[in-house]
């Protein structure tokens, strides 16, 4: 298995997280991401997937969340109390759910913003070239306002922006959210390519077909706890995953679309 051939880049042990001291979002989660691997994290709405990523990226505090117990080790050292800026500088980058690109900035400015947290400024130019290679469509529209991109292009920009800081471990939160099947396929390809170029990936998804197709290992999160785990191919064949995720694959993509719409309006009101 993955874990034996690769030293883990990320180890989550017995992690419990609450919001506002009342809502228990995670209750004793154990997850390992092997160096150089793609790990899928599946789970339905409210399972705690985003909460886990927030804990890793240091943004839990922005949501009044708190780690109650457990430990997270990234590249051998504890993430406890590490702020988001240091996480990014250390190569741990989260691409947020719902894309959250800066719509009033141009495509290129979005990428520049993504590079601001990089430890080494000299890596910014090559990183930008790499992003444009990976997403030629972004290069074509570099001077356009990001808000004018299509949903799929915005997701590519969000991923590209995340790559600008030169991540060693990339955390992707539901990149398929609200996208058409063909675009989801492209996103899957891109994730594979990013991984091939040497970045480990923790992929949070509700679209199990895409995620299990890309990942080496997978975990299923169920109301704050890991309920299933194993190699992606085995999990794809397991009864539980077939029943819970793959059986409803088509409906899920449909259901995700209006949800993306609501989120966007909320973000607008907040801004």
């Amino acid at each position: 298995m993955m874990d034996e051939t690769h030293a883990p880049i990320l180890e989550v042990r017995d992690l419990a997280v609450t919001y506002g001291g009342v809502v228990q979002a995670l209750r004793g989660v154990d997850i390992t991401v092997g160096e150089g691997s793609v790990v899928a994290l599946l789970g339905s709405n409210g399972a705690g997937k985003t909460t886990l990523l927030r804990t890793l990226s240091g943004t839990l505090k922005l949501h009044k969340g708190r780690v109650e117990s457990g430990e997270v080790r990234y590249r051998g050292s504890s993430l406890k109390g590490r702020d988001p800026a240091r996480c990014v500088a250390d190569g741990l980058v989260q691409v947020p759910e719902g894309r959250r690109i800066f719509s009033r900035l141009t495509v290129e400015e979005n990428l520049k913003a993504g590079g601001l947290g990089a430890k080494d400024k000299s890596t910014r130019a090559p990183a930008q070239e790499r992003v444009y290679d990976l997403f030629p469509v972004l290069a074509d529209r570099r001077t356009q306002r990001a808000g004018l991109l299509s949903g799929g292009e915005q997701q590519m920009l969000a991923i590209g922006r995340g790559l600008m800081a030169g991540p060693k471990l990339l955390l992707l939160d539901e990149p398929s959210l609200g996208l058409a099947p063909r675009i989801i396929g492209q996103i899957g390809e891109v994730i594979r390519e990013i991984n091939r170029q040497g970045t480990s990936v923790l992929l949070v998804e509700q679209n199990a077909t895409m995620a299990l197709g890309v990942a080496d290992t997978a975990f299923v999160l169920d109301v704050g706890k890991v309920s299933l785990q194993g190699p992606a191919v085995e999990l794809a064949q397991s009864d539980a995953v077939q029943r819970l995720y793959l059986g409803h694959g088509a409906e899920e993509t449909e259901a995700a679309a209006p949800r993306a719409g609501t989120r966007k309006t909320l973000a607008r009101w907040k801004a």
């Binding site: 988001p84 913003a113 601001l116």
Partner: protein
């Protein structure tokens, strides 16, 4: 015609001073989501420091110390109060800034008493003539210096890392944090810049034809507030345009007061607010306020 041009020129210089204050207001709003009401006391603090120090250490050194001191005061407020109350209701933070404003205003008023402090501008009460239109050197310099400062700001805002960080943070703070942008740093720099702009505005607002520093110059910020709002609270370009509009309108109303006497004496003082209300009735989010570019 000549009177018109003269009023226009003087209005523009007044507007340049308003624009400095309005710009500070907008920068702080974008970076910290705080509607600040302490620009008036920062302006007064800057002018007061320069006036008090220009005797012992000379005007230029005093100007430098005054500007740095005012910026430091703004940063102090941000660090000690605003940054610790991140997430508090917008109204509470606004009222907090009113409180701080009153404290500074009261203290400086006590120190000045009924005096008029002389700032000691090297250009004193000189006047220049531009194309046959007269203006005090002080007011002409205000246009030039404000133009340079605002231009530099726009270049930095558009191209520098700080500018990109600030615009990203203003649009989506959490997403910006996920990019490794330090929100606290962005906010602190914004207050620093606003402090510098307020002190520079204070430096020129207390020069000829204004006799010197009195607590009354605090009210300059009251005219700049509508400038920021009519420009569109979150638009830096709007702050500039709004400042100039208010400046020119105020100068015109004062210059032609005999012709508009039917509106009542003292109409000049309320002009900024009249203009603001008129603009808001037509465009509720101000001239350049955010209208989203989201795809439909």
């Amino acid at each position: 015609m000549n009177q018109f041009l003269s009023l226009l020129l003087n209005g523009l210089s007044l507007g340049a001073i308003y624009a400095l204050i309005a710009l500070g207001f907008v920068i702080i709003f974008k970076a910290s989501e705080v509607v600040t009401f302490m620009q008036g006391s920062l302006l007064l603090l800057g002018a007061y420091l320069i006036a008090r120090l220009s005797e012992p250490i000379g005007f230029w050194a005093a100007a430098a110390v005054g500007i740095v001191g005012t910026a430091a005061a703004a940063v102090l407020v941000e660090r000690l109060l605003i940054s610790r109350l991140r997430g508090a209701p917008v109204i509470s933070l606004a009222i907090l800034t009113i409180g701080v404003d009153l404290i500074i205003l009261t203290e400086i008023t006590r120190r000045i008493g009924s005096d008029i402090l002389n700032v000691g501008h090297p250009w004193g009460g000189d006047a220049v003539s531009i194309g046959g239109v007269g203006i005090t050197t002080n007011r002409a310099l205000a246009i030039v210096v404000a133009g340079i400062l605002i231009g530099a700001f726009f270049i930095a805002f558009k191209f520098s890392s700080w500018g990109i960080a600030m615009r990203a943070a203003a649009e989506d703070g959490e997403a910006a944090a996920l990019m490794g942008i330090r929100l606290g740093w962005v906010s602190m720099v914004a207050w620093l810049v606003a402090g510098v702009l307020a002190a520079v505005a204070g430096l020129f607002a207390t020069g000829s034809p204004t006799p010197g520093v009195t607590p009354a110059i605090w009210a300059v910020a009251l005219a700049a507030l509508p400038a920021a709002i009519l420009g569109g609270l979150d638009s830096t370009g709007g702050a500039l345009v709004g400042g100039l509009i208010i400046g020119v309108a105020t100068a015109m109303a004062a210059g032609y007061q005999d012709q508009i006497a039917f509106l009542g004496r003292g109409f000049g003082e309320v002009v900024p607010y009249v203009v603001m209300v008129a603009v808001l009735l037509v465009r509720p989010s101000g001239l350049f306020g955010t209208r989203d570019v989201t795809r439909v």
